[in-house]
Symmetry: D2
Subunit: 338 residues, 4 copies
């Protein structure tokens, strides 16, 4: 960390600052130039609050040199983390499809889709039981019942399941859930992150609606600091000024994350765009850019299902995507999935 001190600084304040830095267990490299005085902080600065120093009267600016995340940092863990759940493998040159409906609606629906997506190559079943909705008047999901139906589909097909948790009190219902999902709106619900980190199950952590890559990794750090090692990151688009798509899918984040972290990253093209017909091209792009998997909304009968799943693609379209993506994988050093 580098602290640039104002030209017009008071010497006593500078001495105080240096004293305080040393009290944090860090060493200081002082460099006095004609235009600026610079403090280089040497040691583990991950616990130093950059905003706080920035706010000091004598400070012109503060720049972090080291990333503030440690457990999630590839520098301290060079090998890919490989997360295995049932037949699904995330990371280490593998590619995995997660598929299923936006919301769980009925036993017939979820089992039907589970069978269809399994046949098409999916290795994990997704489905919303607790639904975060912008409006209190919108359908909030089948909640506990939704999880029970997912578990039935798991028994029927053997597919492990992933579903979103929205509060600590719901966690007791997640015993038979294989991967716990943290949604975009809860990415910085720190109390939830800590509790989920204690459960001992793999966690799928979606990027926040307008989160930076660093904030996202810091949220992974929250979970990992509680002992959880198996995190799957999920890029789902970020908020920008462009309104043709619901969010702007940030595919550059995938190779950036590959450098910064050892954790696997999957892409959710369904939520990113909000438009079913963009899912196939964005899936090809995600595979091309080097993602470790895709999470896709699939509905068994979107044409007739008016009030749900309409933005999902059909199992046939999904099978088409898995086939095409499969042919790209060897070109990007990934094992084929079919």
């Amino acid at each position: 960390m580098i602290i640039v001190v104002k030209q017009s600084h008071d010497q006593k304040q500078l001495d105080n600052l240096i004293k305080w830095v040393k009290s944090q267990g860090l060493e200081v490299d002082l460099s006095v130039g004609s235009h600026s005085t610079i403090l280089g902080l040497i040691g583990d600065t991950s616990k130093v609050d950059i905003d706080l120093i920035n706010a000091l009267d004598i400070v012109e600016s503060v720049k972090r040199i080291q990333e503030p995340f440690k457990c999630a940092n590839r520098k301290f863990h060079p090998d890919d983390t490989i997360v295995k759940v049932g037949d699904a493998v995330f990371g280490g040159g593998n590619f995995t499809f997660i598929a299923g409906p936006c919301s769980v609606e009925s036993e017939q629906q979820i089992i039907g889709i589970a069978q269809a997506v399994k046949e098409a190559g999916a290795k994990v079943l997704r489905g919303g039981a607790f639904k975060p909705r912008t409006s209190p008047y919108s359908f909030q999901g089948l909640r506990g019942t939704g999880i029970e139906l997912l578990v039935k589909a798991k028994k029927e097909t053997g597919l492990p399941i992933v579903t979103e948790v929205m509060s600590v009190s719901q966690l007791s219902l997640f015993d038979d859930v294989d991967i716990i999902q943290i949604g975009a709106r809860n990415m910085q619900n720190f109390e939830l992150l800590k509790e989920v980190g204690k459960v001992g199950k793999p966690v799928l952590l979606k990027r926040g609606l307008a989160s930076t890559i660093e904030e996202w990794l810091m949220s992974a750090e929250y979970i990992m600091s509680e002992g959880c090692k198996d995190i799957i990151l999920c890029e789902r688009g970020i908020r920008t000024y462009e309104t043709y798509t619901r969010n702007t899918l940030d595919l550059s984040a995938i190779p950036v994350l590959r450098e910064l972290t050892h954790l696997p990253v999957v892409v959710d093209p369904s939520h990113a765009s909000g438009i079913a017909r963009l899912v196939p091209p964005l899936s090809m792009a995600a595979a091309g850019v080097g993602a470790d998997g895709l999470m896709i909304e699939v509905h068994n009968d979107p044409k007739h299902a008016l009030c749900d799943g309409a933005q999902s693609i059909t199992p046939e379209q999904f099978a088409d995507i898995t086939k095409k993506v499969n042919t790209i994988l060897p070109l990007v050093d990934k094992k084929p999935i079919l």
Copy 2:
């Protein structure tokens, strides 16, 4: 709500759509033009899921005409909501200062600040007990003890207190807290919103880091739909590409909210900018634009307190702000506070 149907639509799909709309208790006004077919939905469309319709094959676009919020809507509640807590009054031509430290640190600190800000004109004491921090390695607040110290300061000074809740399980500690704060990162923690709405206390709802005005009002709607009527909105800056300030304070939101909602709105210039010396000019701007109050971080001794409160202003600077703001208030039809 207006649904624009694609020129190339299938008649059967259109019939299905109309049937479904009617099944939601709405009437349909069909307008067939040479270039486009338009459905006008008549009735209460606040429960209709716009994303879902947008995703239908035959739909070109959907436009909401009515705002999706009702309890918070000025159309259905033309008079200002006035929130009274102790001597503090929000809304209805009143202006109120909330002040206090970023974090509660000690009894001496919080009582000292409480006395100082009270003397300077503050009517509510703020102070962080549970602190949402981007890093798990940063100080997380004094938590329960922090609330106890706030309550002591309240007894000592008579000032009502506001502090942030981060999870449902913490709510049991909020019995003596006067206003419950929902922080920016939890603005769409819907489970928390619902529980806080049941408590029966006024709620200060901060705008999310990158939330639209509509999403913000929908979060207020979540709280209000559980019976709570006393919501104070708090603008604290939004995320943009500009990095000189931590966030971009969106002061245009104040007169926009004045039209859309009857709820009072205060401005937090401390978190918006992250720079203490911007707090005085932004406070003047907030008063000028018509805000119902200001929430300002004040620390008793920022020069010596190195590890906290550095970005806060001193009680003397705060007293200066209240004096100056006071002179603006009559010009914007607000009652003077001093």
Copy 3:
């Protein structure tokens, strides 16, 4: 176009509005509901100023139904526009590589790179002569001399050339340039767009730094309305809050543009990310998502060239990219290039 009139409107003002709309050669479909009055404007609304109507006292909101662009609109021109320049073909199932250095530096440099990228599969040579730089103190390009060197490289290799124009007065130097580039910062330099549209050469139009897809197509419309039909759009990243990459490459824009317009679209991964090692994965993603080509910065000796080209990739890395991209093309219904 749909105009929603306020409930509390004055009848005379509404009559005036309807009269004015009709004076613009449009018909009006009036729909009076209990909550809102809606005017549907029927006819060619592309010349109607939406901001102007939006600003009227009696108007609650205005929604455009038809896209405001016509020449660029796929609805009125369903077949792909195919732009042919030398051996390069853009659109209609073809895929084309444009490659070359950021700045033209010397005859040896530009001819060397031209030969190398031609061998690797590039069909167009790029190179900056006029350089838009944020700082007046940065190198502004070789300007006229740069264009002469590009023309020499063209004679030597047969590759057509594309280079950026920054003002109307420079156009006289573009006689031997094959494709005129409009840079991101000039995307809304409307006077330049109009003049370039009169030249009669193909134009490569980069997306503005923070432009919407619609604004981009409207800028294409400016050029086309002067008679130019051969526009190649170029996605180069948009400005967001994320700072790990210089810009956020918006790959979703490619399939969106495919629907909205018949114009070909290429992707520039070099400027989008600003990081050379992200160029290979982003190139694969661009091919996967269905782009019509790639524009890549290539430098002959980035390791030793300290003051330029450092962010470029080498001809060897470029050859690697063309080979890999070539294998993806058949999977996305594009003709292989090698």
Copy 4:
């Protein structure tokens, strides 16, 4: 400027980098730590290309310590620049109103408005002759004739005039224009900036649609580096994800600019919001935050003028604003204007 070198750097590359830095006339302070090697560049780094260094293989990151602008920098010019045009004074504790219609329409219109705004306290008349419009089909302004009409209004009222130039070729028509305006879309039209800087007249430089404060000052630097000293900056809102207002007015930029530069800054609330009824509260906010003036669209008869000026306020409303703003000025250490 500080360059952080990768831990795994090649010594030869580092030597090359140091050699190159020294060849630029800079000194290097090398600091080798156990985790990172840091180069401090000492001297005038304003001409060093940060992107270029950032792109080097051995570089982890580069941080600029000094601002890259010099002529516009308050560090090298501590006193306010005061721009005087007719009776108008910008900077140095003065406050000035610029007012007039969006577009010049007729002699009667522009003279009528000029007289009305002069009476209400405006010291400069604004009016668009060349109009930058997103669509080629929208009205492009009266152009040369518009300027002639502005000059007539100037003769009639004595008010100096400001109007926008969109290309170098139009500059010959600006002989009788007092302040040349650069619009938001041309803020990085560098060729235009350079030519306008040579004219010898004051320049009003609008902030780009999505420009950072630093980019904005660099554009001022372009103009100043050609000899022009009298620049008036104009904040007009930035592009964000929020759509209730056309742009998000960034009032925090005013006190930030006060620190960074000696140039005066005015605020344009009309273009920022696009909503006439937001102009009065935003004007009060701009005065409160310390702006040096306001630029406001005023139309003589917005109620009847359907096709233009509708988003403007009336002369009566403008007079109301000047009166109210006048009462705030002494509170923010500005001289009253009336």
